[in-house]
């Protein structure tokens, strides 16, 4: 493998070493850097001393990279110095210590590029007004669907007569009905197949700030995809990696490695039948503490958390009121539960109230008996729309109509709120007022699986009655550790009483200019060190919570910047300004493919997710960006520039309102982000 030396590796001294030197001459500038120096010396001493076996509890080792080589990636893909993906365009100054791999988690030291995700008190929640495109766009969109559908039917008609072999699996054959009738699969064969190169692209490596695409081509119009064997590094604004915890190095990965050495990868069966480890209990307690609820339970798959727990909450005689855009897993669970379901228009609180009045007054269908319970299920952040549940109004309605509230925070947990506690944190709503908080670890925490949090009574009931405790495999130890480590990074750690007496730890407070939060409001608080596995290596940035805070604030900035930047360019987007999910409307099915391909083949390749019917309404095909704390401002600039160019080409800038040229947006980014409202 020809691995060219990185430009940084050519530097005579690595940044952290240089800092160490500088530190010995000048005064300690920050507690964190002091600590890193201390722990480094510590680590070196241990290496020489050769006493590796037992790490003391709460050792602060292995988090600070000792050489800058660790902060760039040595992959054998082509190394391009100009695209800014593997290496920062501007090399870091000697002051800046970066402990992350730039390709995984971008280097961004500018403290201006930070923001706090929080709902402004006293302002009613509203998402960006949805703008309709001009009529010609709608008309041509319908026409293009019509054209493709007609062509498809024509091809089927001809094909079935002249090339029957290709259709055999769609027709009855040898006494078997087709596994998949031609009508059911029409959409897949005749519409999706045309743009299949935009979906299911295989990748490798860490799905962090950048991602390595395994290049492929199709000789037969996407029927088969053949890997070419080459790889392309692309800017990744598609993965659900909101807080950037998808990392192959750093404190979380270190913790997971230690865990694998200790525990292996197996958990051995279901929770109630010999699959419960101490780690499960620790993780559950931590989740409860993170959210400030009494108790929590963990399940090994996010989808299954909904599909196996909802049936334990409601049953026949109960009513589920569900937002029309709720995730498939919720619908799956509700269908299994046997409860009645009513839907209301997405996020329309008037429709919800009308519906509530109707269902409570009418009672159960036919018998008119009162409902046993009514459960409202909403998502915190809608992953295709970028809208947030209108919690302030929902809480009002909840008081009046006495329904139970289930919030699926799959996308909002970690990604929203000044403390990353999700949509309740964002709106400043007491979490104990919400009956069930559900979320997944797949997104913000870079792990897998999901949780349910609530009162102890409910959670204990679900432990026994949910399908997951009895029938599904327990979460595996490495995943549990990633959950614990990433969550702790956001929370910070309270060390046991005797520990802070050491001077290094006393310095831990106030290392970053954090928003001042009154003590009473730190609801969930920090994690007590005693609640963590004793073997887990902790890094200083984890202990003081500075790492997590940095991530939250970077994500908040990026989200607001891209949302507003795109709108200033004249694109039609949906959702809320603070949402890290940014849908940009394309309308035409044909433009999806072109948009995706053009982004992928730029000088700095960018991978995007395009979605269309049936995941969205027919006309509103869209591209969806998922921002991450791992992105730097330059990355968002890059996306804006790309969108600007392609948007002009594809005639996508259809929104009304004031527009700025792209360079002005980039220059005035900080100002744009801090405006209370944009006109």
């Amino acid at each position: 493998m020809p691995s060219r030396p990185s430009p940084i590796a050519l530097n005579p001294a690595s940044p952290s070493q240089s800092i160490f030197k500088k530190k010995s001459s000048t005064a300690m500038s920050t507690a964190a850097s002091y600590l890193s120096a201390v722990s480094e010396a510590d680590a070196r001493a241990r290496k020489h001393g050769g006493t590796p076996a037992s790490t003391p509890a709460l050792s602060m080792s292995s988090s600070v990279t000792s050489s800058s080589e660790d902060t760039v990636l040595h992959d054998d893909g082509h190394l391009d110095f100009t695209d800014g993906l593997s290496f920062p365009r501007k090399p870091p100054t000697s002051e800046q210590v970066f402990t992350t791999v730039h390709a995984e988690f971008g280097h961004c030291a500018n403290e201006d590029y930070r923001y706090t995700s929080q709902h402004r008190k006293g302002v009613p929640y509203k998402s960006i007004p949805e703008q309709d495109p001009p009529y010609y766009i709608l008309l041509t969109t319908y026409l293009s669907y019509l054209l493709v559908i007609c062509l498809g039917h024509l091809r089927d008609f001809v094909g079935k007569r002249f090339r029957a072999v290709n259709y055999r699996h769609l027709l009855p054959w040898n006494g078997y009905a087709p596994l998949n009738s031609d009508f059911d699969s029409f959409y897949t064969r005749r519409l999706k197949l045309r743009i299949d190169d935009c979906f299911s692209h295989p990748v490798t490596g860490v799905p962090g700030r950048t991602i390595l695409l395994l290049d492929r081509y199709s000789p037969d119009y996407n029927k088969t995809m053949i890997p070419t064997g080459t790889r392309t590094r692309a800017l990744n604004i598609s993965s659900y990696n909101y807080l950037g915890f998808a990392q192959g190095s750093g404190p979380c990965a270190d913790a997971v490695e230690r865990c694998i050495e200790r525990y292996g990868v197996a958990s051995g069966g279901t929770r109630l039948q010999g699959g419960t480890l101490d780690l499960h209990l620790q993780a559950e307690a931590l989740v409860a503490r993170f959210l400030g609820t009494e108790d929590a339970l963990i399940s090994s798959m996010g989808f299954a958390t909904n599909s196996t727990i909802i049936p334990a909450l409601v049953s026949k005689g109960c009513l589920v009121i569900s937002d029309e855009l709720n995730h498939a897993s919720i619908r799956f669970g509700v269908r299994l539960s046997g409860a009645n379901v009513r839907m209301f228009k997405h996020n329309d609180m008037n429709a919800l109230e009308d519906l509530l009045r109707e269902v409570i007054s009418q009672g159960q269908p036919k018998t008119h008996r009162p409902w046993k319970k009514i459960l409202l299920i909403v998502e915190g952040l809608y992953s295709m729309e970028g809208t947030l549940a209108n919690l302030p109004v929902i809480m009002e309605l909840k008081k009046k109509y006495k329904f139970y509230l289930f919030i699926d925070e799959a996308h909002s947990i970690g990604a929203l709120g000044p403390r990353g506690r999700g949509v309740t944190d964002y709106f400043g709503i007491d979490r104990r007022q919400v009956d069930i908080l559900m979320g997944t670890f797949t997104k913000s925490f870079g792990a897998a699986g999901g949780y349910i949090a609530g009162s102890k009574t409910i959670i204990d009931r679900l432990r026994l009655q949910g399908h997951s405790g009895v029938y599904t495999e327990a979460m595996t130890p490495p995943v549990l550790t990633q959950v614990i480590a990433s969550m702790v990074s956001i929370m910070g750690i309270t060390l046991p009483a005797e520990k802070p007496s050491s001077p290094s730890l006393a310095l831990l407070r106030s290392s970053e200019n954090t928003p001042v939060i009154p003590e009473s409001e730190v609801i969930p608080g920090t994690a007590p060190a005693s609640a963590l596995p004793s073997w887990m290596p902790l890094s200083p940035s984890m202990i003081d919570g500075s790492d997590g805070r940095m991530r939250l604030r970077r994500l908040a900035f990026n989200a607001r910047y891209l949302n507003r930047g795109l709108r200033k360019l004249g694109f039609i987007t949906y959702g809320n300004d603070d949402s890290p999910v940014v849908p940009l409307l394309l309308f035409h099915p044909g433009k999806m493919a072109v948009f995706s391909r053009m982004m992928r083949t730029r000088a700095t390749p960018i991978v995007v997710v395009v979605v269309a019917y049936p995941a969205t309404p027919l006309v509103t095909s869209r591209v969806r960006f998922c921002l991450s704390a791992a992105h730097t401002k330059e990355d968002v600039d890059e996306v804006l520039r790309a969108c600007d160019e392609i948007g002009d080409l594809l005639d996508l800038k259809q929104a009304s309102g004031e527009r700025w040229p792209v360079e002005e947006i980039i220059k005035r980014a900080v100002e744009l982000v801090h405006m209370p409202e944009i006109p």
Partner: protein, 529 residues
């Protein structure tokens, strides 16, 4: 006055002119003449009918425009209330609590769940401080804690991070997933395989991906909970045959065929759904017979190998190794990792990539677990001795427990999952019926309930079995009751203790553990007999 009449004249003139242009234009549309003739003649024949048709059209448009979610309001059961009445009703309505607090028994149940401190394995340490022999956790092949797997997992962690951070369709498909799918397909000798990120959610998505409303599923009465949920979601027509009874299956297939011929319905998809080794009792399907019947009646077979994959066959390929049929199975149990798979022809697999709900709408498996599973397959391939050790251990345990008076074992002799039920003296309670039922009393295929359901006292047996579990634990052997969601399973399953034998223990250790179980049984049950 004059001017107004003039303007009126102009207006009428305009009207008549526009009418003529409209008319000529209308007649230019092809087919319009036919329509006009039809309307005219029908109006001549029966003026009332025109009115009726117009009303009909208006009504149709109205129903179309009406929002579907509010459909109930126009229903005949809708009661009109005014706002004040609604407010009162809202005030009056008092919901039940979202969850009932646990009863003392349930609390005890939850408290009795053993917690392993540190890694799981054949000899784990419990939170009580005791080190026990583990016959509870699924670790058939003893891969838990394997050093090669650990090394591979750490290497993958450094390369891929932990989570995949996306569903397979949106950049969540990593090369390691493609590799494991290939490995599984090769291992089982199928064309292709697809990975799901949880075993339980695999089969419950696979079934509805293929079986739609109107399709016919013939299922075993003893299928596991995940399959039951899959059947429920699919909304297909389900017919049941007696648990693991091929005669009953044939009879049901015959009756379905007869019914179809009588109704002359269109050809629908037909499936047989069953398990390789049943989760409920460890019985093993007669796969050759199943395959023969499936071919004869032209059904497709969906076989759940969650338990049998990685525990039977020469190298752990499950029943398919013994009999060579595609199947879905569990990576979690068989390979000591997490997740499930479905293997079959590439048409079957690719169909699921778009229609398997929990595949499409869930993040892909973490890379390191995927690699751990690939490594597991590798080890199984290269070390056939693992499976022979496992089988030896199973035989050793069965040799001891088969001969105990108060234990009934419904499990197949080769099954690494062994269910132990209480055997009461024959007269007291009817014994479990695994022998062929008499030809005369056939169960009704429409109902999941068998003709002669075995009688047993769930609470009593559960309690006794828990005593056995506690007793065994006190003697240093961790076993578990087979936990079931009572009341949610389609048919009540007879309470049992579920042993999971592992290749990681020596034959001696297994025998010792089996003797502990035996004496616990004798101590608890024996004194009641």
């Amino acid at each position: 006055m004059n001017s107004s009449s003039q303007s009126l004249e102009l207006f009428f003139d305009f009207l008549s002119r526009s009418y003529t242009t409209l008319e000529t234009n209308f007649y230019k549309i092809p087919g319009s003449a036919v329509l006009a003739r039809y309307v005219r003649s029908s109006h001549q024949n029966d003026p009332g009918r025109t009115l009726l048709e117009i009303i009909l059209i208006i009504f149709a448009i109205r129903t179309l425009l009406q929002s579907r979610t509010r459909g109930d309001q126009s229903g005949k059961h809708f009661i009109q209330f005014d706002e004040k009445e609604i407010d009162e009703l809202v005030d009056e309505w008092a919901p039940e609590p979202l969850a009932q607090p646990l009863t003392p028994e349930e609390q005890a149940e939850l408290a009795s769940v053993p917690v392993i401190v540190g890694p799981t394995g054949p000899k784990p340490k419990l939170s009580s401080g005791k080190t026990v022999t583990n016959l509870a956790s699924y670790n058939f092949t003893g891969l838990a804690g394997n050093e090669d797997i650990k090394a591979a997992a750490v290497e993958t962690l450094r390369k891929y991070g932990l989570g995949s951070c996306g569903p397979p369709g949106f950049y969540g498909t990593q090369d390691v997933h493609i590799q494991l799918e290939q490995d599984i397909a090769d291992f089982l000798g199928t064309e292709a395989a697809i990975l799901y990120s949880q075993a339980f959610s695999t089969i419950s998505s696979v079934i509805p991906a293929f079986c739609k409303r109107g399709d016919i599923i013939v299922a075993d009465r003893g299928v596991n909970f995940a399959i039951q949920k899959g059947l429920q979601i699919s909304r297909s027509t389900v017919r049941w045959y007696d648990h693991n009874d091929m005669e009953s299956l044939e009879h049901v297939l015959e009756s379905v065929e007869k019914e179809r011929r009588k109704r002359k319905g269109p050809l629908t998809r037909r499936f047989i759904v069953t398990e390789g080794i049943f989760d409920h009792d460890g019985a093993m399907s007669d796969l050759p017979k199943l395959v023969e019947l499936k071919k004869k009646y032209k059904y497709r077979l969906i076989l759940d190998e969650s338990v049998s994959f990685g525990s039977v066959g020469r190298t752990g390929r499950g029943l398919t190794e013994l009999y060579n049929v595609p199947a879905s199975g569990s990576v979690a149990n068989g390979l000591s990792s997490c997740g499930g798979f479905c293997a079959g022809s590439s048409i079957v697999v690719n169909h699921q990539r778009i229609n398997g709900t929990s595949f499409v709408f869930s993040a892909a498996m973490p890379a390191l677990l995927t690699v751990a599973a690939s490594e597991g397959i590798n080890i199984l391939r290269n070390t056939p001795s693992i499976l022979s050790t496992l089988q030896e251990n199973v035989r050793a345990v069965r040799a001891i427990l088969d001969r105990v008076d108060c234990i009934h074992i419904p499990s197949h002799p080769a099954s690494a999952v062994i269910h132990l039920q209480i055997r009461w003296p024959t007269l007291q309670v009817p014994t479990h019926t695994t022998s062929s039922p008499s030809k005369l009393s056939k169960s009704n295929p429409l109902s999941v309930k068998p003709r002669d359901p075995p009688q047993f006292n769930v609470e009593l047996e559960e309690k006794l079995l828990q005593d056995v579990v506690d007793e065994a634990l006190a003697q240093g052997v961790m076993i578990t009751r087979a936990k079931r969601l009572r009341g949610q399973e389609l048919i009540e399953v007879r309470p049992s203790i579920r042993l999971a034998i592992t290749a990681a223990l020596s034959r001696k250790e297994c025998e010792k553990a089996a003797n502990v179980v035996k004496s616990a049984f004798v101590k608890v049950i024996g004194k009641r007999r």
